[in-house]
């Protein structure tokens, strides 16, 4: 049993979105390609039988993170900067390093038993009921920890991102910290 056609199409969509997101010059196009890649990955999860994870991926990544990235691009005026210098000076070295990492990973996958074991497992039947029971019984402690961490992260993000209003902050931080850039 080989890979199904739908898996191949979704994998190509996901990878094309990822490559486009990392190579396009205009940042808004990059954000769009990133959203396509995330959506393709969500479809891959559904294809592999993890419907709940696919829906969570769609909600969180396409619905929240991609939109957050678009907001960040617009707020930092990154779409208005010149398009000549999008890659860093050490870009060639970084690309070669990534290529080497892929070579090692692909060698490990191909030479391991995963490429040859012919065991085709039937799709596991997971109902929402089982997922709910697992979340409330076996994984209840990680669930609570992640809830606490999400709350802390949201408070931290708001504290970091909110512009300090003049008058409510102490005088010593009022002075421009980088006068030549503020001018």
């Amino acid at each position: 049993m080989g890979m199904t056609v739908s898996f191949l199409i979704l994998a190509i969509l996901t990878l094309a979105g990822g490559v486009a997101a990392m190579t396009l010059r205009r940042l808004v196009h990059c954000a769009l390609a990133l959203a396509v890649s995330f959506a393709g990955l969500a479809a891959l999860y559904v294809n592999l039988g993890a419907e709940f994870a696919g829906l969570a991926q769609l909600l969180v990544y396409v619905g929240a993170i991609a939109i957050l990235i678009v907001f960040a691009i617009l707020l930092t005026h990154s779409s208005e900067t010149e398009l000549q210098k999008v890659f860093s000076p050490a870009g060639i070295a970084g690309a070669l390093l990534a290529l080497a990492v892929f070579a090692v990973l692909a060698w490990a996958v191909v030479s391991s038993g995963a490429a040859h074991s012919a065991a085709s497992v039937a799709a596991p039947q997971t109902s929402m009921r089982e997922i709910g029971f697992a979340l409330m019984q076996r994984y209840v402690l990680p669930l609570e920890v992640i809830a606490l961490m999400l709350t802390a992260a949201m408070i931290g993000a708001v504290i970091l991102a909110v512009r300090p209003t003049s008058g409510s902050e102490p005088a010593e931080t009022q002075a421009p910290r980088n006068p030549e850039l503020r001018a």
Binding site: M3, A21, M22, Y61, A98, A118, A119, V121, N178
Partner: protein, 103 residues
């Protein structure tokens, strides 16, 4: 090629694309996007091993992906807030121009 090996190859390709983006792009937002792609590649590995592994009824890899998505949401929110704070301070989001930690 078995489906598991196909998933693992797709995921390693996605990881390499994310790594290349995080290492080569100048804009801090796209560096964060590359990191998100790498995280997603790891998630795909978890789903693949859960689907084709010996005990899918324990939902281990599945739950790991759910929690990993939550962690990624928190990471993206804090990371983008940091990029906004740095932009307000240094007036740039170019990682190769942000060279000093003391303002």
């Amino acid at each position: 090629m078995t489906p598991l090996a196909g998933c693992l190859l797709v995921s390693s390709l996605l990881f390499s694309v994310g790594l290349a983006g995080a290492l080569t792009r100048r804009n801090a937002i796209l560096v964060l996007a590359g990191i998100e792609l790498m995280l997603n590649a790891a998630n795909l590995n978890f789903i693949a091993f859960w689907r084709f592994g010996p005990h899918p009824e324990f939902l281990t890899g599945f739950m790991f992906v759910i929690f990993s998505i939550a962690v990624a949401a928190a990471e993206a929110a804090v990371g983008l807030a940091l990029i906004l704070a740095i932009y307000r301070h240094a007036r740039t989001s170019d990682v190769s121009e942000i060279t000093e930690m003391k303002g």
